[in-house]
């Protein structure tokens, strides 16, 4: 087995001294798509934030692509690991065109050939050239989420952290985004760590899942467990039932 893309061991994360994530341990293999599920406030987003340095108060062991985890956003890491946020409405600057949003990572890292790259990535996420000079308010939620994904892809990372990328979207749009993410992973060999509370989405997208409750991991299971609901932890079982798990077989 190769070295894991993400490796967490006994990770504790605190906000202002208050511990919200307690002793989280799991590995994500390269090219794997790993899901983090659990109810609201259980600390899922916090884990992702810690991985990219947005939650500086952490202790334990954390490794991303072999590098020790950051305590603040790190330029070098930025090129290898990117994150997509939950809310497509809040994650784009309201006064910047798509073009500006997508060129920015290139300017920051001094990468040239902006025009071609922006065009290419727009094509990759299924937006045609008409969108290039639009402002966020001229686009639908699904289109915005595509732009957000495109922005994350600009630096050609190996690992993508996805924080509920579709929870603010309609089913039909969600389907488009999920397809897109799936396609991109296949094309680029990306590693996904994806937060969601929608178990069917896990079933569609992921290989393995970890279930979090109150800051702790209660169970790690393969996604195939969703087919028959073979979970050992009572909380997971409850979650499964509440998601209509036993009905639509």
């Amino acid at each position: 087995m190769t070295a894991p893309a993400i490796s967490l061991e006994n990770l504790d994360i605190a906000y202002d001294g208050l511990r919200v994530v307690k002793g989280v341990t799991f590995d994500v293999a390269p090219d794997e798509s790993f899901a983090l599920v659990g109810e609201s406030g259980s600390g899922k987003s916090t884990v992702l934030k810690a991985l990219c340095g947005l939650a500086p108060e952490w202790t334990g062991k954390m490794e991303v692509l072999g590098q020790p985890g950051p305590h603040r956003p790190d330029r070098a890491l930025a090129q290898r690991c990117q994150m997509v946020f939950q809310d497509p409405y809040g994650s784009l600057h309201p006064r910047k065109t798509v073009d500006t949003v997508l060129s920015e990572p290139l300017s920051i890292h001094g990468i040239g050939d902006k025009d071609a790259r922006v065009q290419q990535v727009l094509e990759d996420v299924g937006l045609d050239a008409r969108f290039r000079f639009r402002y966020p308010h001229q686009m639908s939620g699904g289109q915005r989420q595509r732009v957000a994904i495109a922005r994350a892809l600009m630096l050609e990372p190996e690992v993508m952290l996805l924080d509920e990328p579709t929870s603010a979207l309609d089913v039909s749009v969600q389907a488009e985004i999920l397809n897109l993410l799936k396609r991109l992973r296949a094309e680029r060999g990306l590693t996904y760590l994806m937060v969601t509370h929608n178990l069917p989405v896990v079933s569609f997208m992921c290989d393995r899942m970890a279930v979090m409750n109150k800051g702790e991991i209660v169970e790690i299971a393969p996604a195939t467990a969703l087919h028959d609901g073979s979970f050992s932890d009572p909380y997971t079982q409850k979650l499964y039932a509440a998601s209509g798990g036993n009905e639509d077989q």
Partner: protein, 298 residues
């Protein structure tokens, strides 16, 4: 042209930017108060530019034998205690007013904006430090503070304006900070940080542009007070120097005539009111239009 501007899918950066500007203009035009305000400001600017054409006699000519004449066909606004034509002085005063407005806007708004954004963005002791300073500045009587700075800089309208600008920035810093606080935790800022953007870049490219609209609004609303503070400084000998036709100084100079020669201080008073109203209307209109809340949705 219109279609090009309103195109939902602009083909270039330029088209996107002009489209946005055009939409803002359209929205402004739909707002009667804002239009009134814009017209007033436009009139002010034109008056300042063409002062010599509008009132060729200039603001200085004294005719002691024609002093304190009431408004007439010859002297539309009457004459003052030195026999100068008040209309000509009001017209030429537009230049000074414009200078005040421009200088304050150029100095204090950016200063307040940057400090406020830094304070709000970094938080912690930087925030406490900057906000402590603004607290102190804000708790001083404006006139006294301006007086001190004007005194330190030396007399003259420019220095008075700089002094006023120094006293105005703390209010703007507050606004910018409040705005930044709401932006600091937004996801687009987090996204920018993840891309490796430096703090400077985030503040200048992401945070500041969003604070400017509330700043523009606030600065325009403050203009009246600024013009009047400048007049107050002039009154204490630290602002506009005679015979400069500064409106506030003209009102002060005509104070003792107010009951018998009302026109001496009333016309410059109207000029100040009109221009302040113009700025206020425009500011109000801009707020409605620039408010990012109204723009964020479809």
């Amino acid at each position: 042209m219109r279609a090009w501007l309103l195109d939902d899918s602009p083909a270039s950066r330029f088209q996107a930017a002009s489209g946005r500007a055009y939409r803002i203009t359209l929205d402004l035009l739909r707002n009667p108060l804002a239009v009134t305000g814009a017209l007033i400001i436009a009139a002010l600017i034109l008056t300042a530019i063409f002062a010599d054409t509008i009132a060729p006699e200039g603001p200085g000519g004294q005719f002691l034998d024609q002093r304190l004449e009431p408004p007439s066909a010859e002297h539309w606004f009457g004459t003052d205690q030195l026999g100068r034509d008040i209309f000509a002085r009001v017209v030429h005063g537009a230049q000074i007013t414009l200078q005040i407005v421009a200088l304050v806007a150029i100095i204090s708004a950016p200063l307040g904006l940057v400090l406020g954004a830094i304070s709000g963005y970094f938080g912690g002791w930087i925030d406490r430090g900057i906000m402590g300073v603004t607290d102190v500045f804000l708790s001083m009587p404006k006139l006294v503070l301006a007086l001190a700075f004007a005194a330190a800089l030396g007399p003259g309208i420019e220095n008075a304006i700089i002094a006023i600008a120094i006293t105005t920035w703390p209010a703007y810093a507050r606004i910018a900070r409040a705005e930044t606080l709401t932006l600091r935790n937004s996801e687009f800022v987090a996204a920018a940080r993840l891309l490796g953007a430096s703090h400077t870049r985030i503040i200048t490219r992401h945070v500041l542009p969003l604070c400017t609209s509330s700043m523009i609004v606030r600065v325009t609303l403050d203009m009246a007070g600024i013009i009047l503070t400048a007049a107050g400084l002039g009154f204490l000998g630290l602002g506009a120097q005679p015979p400069q036709p500064e409106w506030g100084a003209m009102i002060s100079g005509g104070r003792s005539f107010i009951y018998d020669q009302w026109w001496v201080s009333t016309f410059p008073g109207f000029a100040i009111i009109l221009v302040s109203l113009g700025f206020c209307f425009l500011g109000d209109g801009l707020r409605d239009v620039l408010d990012p809340k109204s723009e964020r949705k479809g």
